[in-house]
């Protein structure tokens, strides 16, 4: 009996110590470090114009990328689960691609397609559209890396819900559009929300892909994660910590949202 107890305690505290060393202590220490010189420097660096511009750009990419990926994700999940079209496995594999590709490679590929010497670079430039080193490139990079989340969350939910309710709605005279809004969407809403939260988290924090396609022009094409790097490399550690803290708070909010949703979902 005591041996069993010992094993259990051993396992518990070993696992917790690992988590503490890897996650909790570093995060906590960062908070302390941020406020090392009091609150004033933190406030100052938040209100720095470049910092505000970076935050604005980050939010802008989120506002564009998340709705697009959400619509796509739902459409894609419906196609994968509810239709029996051919080539489904190809779509299935393609959706997972962003999970398998290094963010740097994502950035590189966008440069190759839309860059100055890329496939469409010249044509786009002729039309006066600059993609790489500009906002569209950042948005494309963010869309790419956060593309699978909604579809991946919704697919299992759709499978679990089954199509009974949709069929029932159909026998009651409901058309496809009405059925989608009144039956399908409410049934998968937690899956969708979960996917949206994950997409948002990834879109907010993407660094690698964005760092390749962004010109890193302060105040213009610098997202918050890029701003963190620049601040750090120019030895403005308070600025780096503060921006990091903003991102970390957003991440914690994401975690909280995920937990609330999971609880809600389990309640139903």
């Amino acid at each position: 009996m005591t041996g069993e107890r010992l094993t259990r305690w051993g396992l518990r505290y070993f696992a917790l110590a690992y988590l503490a060393l890897l996650l909790i202590i570093p995060l906590g220490y960062m908070m302390i470090e941020t406020f090392k010189d009091g609150i004033q420097p933190v406030l100052d660096s938040i209100t720095e114009p470049d910092s505000i511009a970076a935050l604005k750009l980050t939010l802008l990419t989120v506002v564009i990328a998340v709705p697009l990926n959400t619509i796509f994700g739902i459409a894609c999940a419906l196609l994968l689960v509810r239709s029996n079209m051919r080539g489904k496995s190809i779509i299935n594999a393609l959706i997972d691609m962003p999970f398998a590709i290094s963010p740097i490679v994502v950035g590189l590929s966008l440069v190759l397609v839309y860059g100055q010497n890329g496939w469409f670079g010249q044509d786009l430039a002729a039309m006066g559209i600059q993609v790489i080193f500009s906002t569209p490139g950042i948005v494309l990079a963010v869309i790419f890396v956060s593309l699978p989340f909604v579809a991946r969350e919704v697919v299992p939910v759709l499978q679990e819900v089954g199509d009974d309710q949709e069929k029932a709605a159909e026998t009651l005279g409901s058309g496809p559009w009405n059925t989608f809004w009144r039956i399908t969407l409410p049934a998968i809403r937690w899956g969708v929300s979960y996917g949206v939260v994950l997409t948002t988290a990834r879109a907010l924090g993407e660094f690698g892909a964005v760092s390749v396609v962004s010109g890193k022009i302060s105040g213009q094409t610098e997202t918050l994660p890029l701003y963190v790097q620049k601040q750090f490399e120019t030895f403005q550690s308070v600025g780096a910590y503060t921006s990091s803290l903003i991102l970390a708070v957003l991440a914690l909010a994401t975690l909280l949202a995920m937990n609330l949703m999971r609880r809600k979902e389990n309640h139903e």
Partner: protein
């Protein structure tokens, strides 16, 4: 004009003409023809995989027949989407709209049809009363018992005043007691509402209990259509005989247990068996026997005095043969094949990947 008219002998009700349905290589329905009289209650009876559910879904429009036509109230339904057929369909597992209350579930059909608000309200309340869910209108399906959910599903299907009511194994997911109550209740409801009703079941007792017409199906085909008495007394083949009512297989023929005669000594055309168990149930009783040499179980239903007269003991030999006027059918093994083909449900949901961001 038209083939359609000529085919239709019944103006109202349901007419199924030469309907076939393939799923890949599998033939779920083979040239099925069926007439369901207006206002009647019909049971589709058969083992699983017999095509009964497919036929029901084809009538509803949930499956498109590969061939053939279906008429409802004399109107060709070919190519007509489910939503325009005005059928009420009750699903085996209720298909309750989980995010809607009982009231909202029942109101769904009328809302889709854009009925005026007050009319919807009146209709839903009327139905809630009809299916005895009074006071539960604001509950969610998860807060209802199985039987209550099934009645809600029924009310939802009836709300739009459907031309026909189709029920797929309506009591399949319920326990024995609730099943029994609910089916008597359904019968009474049908007498009140009088909507043409078809229900699918694999339970012969259920079919015989409440249906006016029973359609016995096997391997995608209709074996026989008739009343419970007709099927029991004049089965067209061994499959129907075995599926509707109890049977023994004696000397290559199927015979009912109450038509099975038992003798203590060998008589002409009899088969030797060994007595396994004798069960006395008040006035009547039964002898359970094992055939020789293949040890198949058969039994005879006898009166108490017959049992006394025979005076058999477990282990002692006996001889059986069908009674002279008994209904018998040649045993082709069709029943056994159909029943052993039933496989347990294997559609376990595939465990999904947890949402893993990279």
């Amino acid at each position: 004009m038209t083939a359609a008219k000529n085919h239709t002998e019944v103006e109202n009700g349901i007419e199924v003409i030469d309907v076939s349905k393939q799923f890949g290589d599998f033939e779920a329905l083979k040239d099925v023809n069926l007439s369901v009289p207006d206002g009647s209650m019909t049971a589709l009876l058969g083992p699983s995989g017999s095509g009964k559910s497919t036929l029901l879904r084809a009538i509803a429009g949930l499956e498109n027949p590969s061939q053939g036509k279906i008429f409802i109230s004399g109107e060709d339904q070919t190519g007509k989407p489910v939503r325009s057929r005005n059928v009420g369909f009750v699903f085996q597992h209720y298909a309750a709209f989980k995010h809607m209350t009982v009231f909202e579930n029942i109101a769904f059909g009328p809302k889709v049809r854009k009925w005026p608000k007050q009319k919807i309200k009146d209709r839903v309340n009327e139905l809630i009363e009809l299916v005895q869910l009074n006071g539960l209108g604001k509950r969610y399906p998860s807060q209802l018992s199985g039987g209550q959910r099934q009645r809600m599903a029924l009310a939802r299907a009836l709300a739009v005043e459907p031309t026909v009511l189709l029920l797929d194994e309506p009591f399949g997911a319920l326990d024995a007691k609730v099943r029994k109550d609910l089916r008597t209740w359904l019968r009474r409801l049908h007498d009140e509402v009088h909507v043409t009703t078809i229900f699918v079941t694999h339970d012969q007792e259920e079919a015989m209990d409440i249906a006016e017409q029973i359609v016995v199906m096997n391997e995608g085909q209709i074996e026989q259509t008739g009343s419970a008495t007709e099927l029991y007394d004049e089965p067209v083949n061994d499959f129907v005989m075995g599926f509707v009512g109890e049977v023994n297989s004696i000397g290559g023929r199927l015979v009912r247990p109450h038509d099975t005669q038992v003798f203590p000594n060998e008589v002409e055309d009899s088969t030797r068996v060994e007595v396994d168990r004798i069960v006395r149930l008040g006035f009547s009783g039964r002898i359970e026997m094992l055939t020789d040499p293949d040890k198949r179980e058969i039994w005879a239903q006898l009166t108490r005095s017959e049992l006394e007269t025979l005076n058999l003991e477990p282990g002692s030999p006996a001889w059986v043969k069908p009674a002279p006027d008994a209904v018998t059918r040649e045993d082709t093994g069709a029943l056994e094949a159909a029943v052993t083909a039933e496989s347990p449900a294997t559609d376990k949901p595939t465990p999904s990947m947890p949402g893993l961001p990279v």
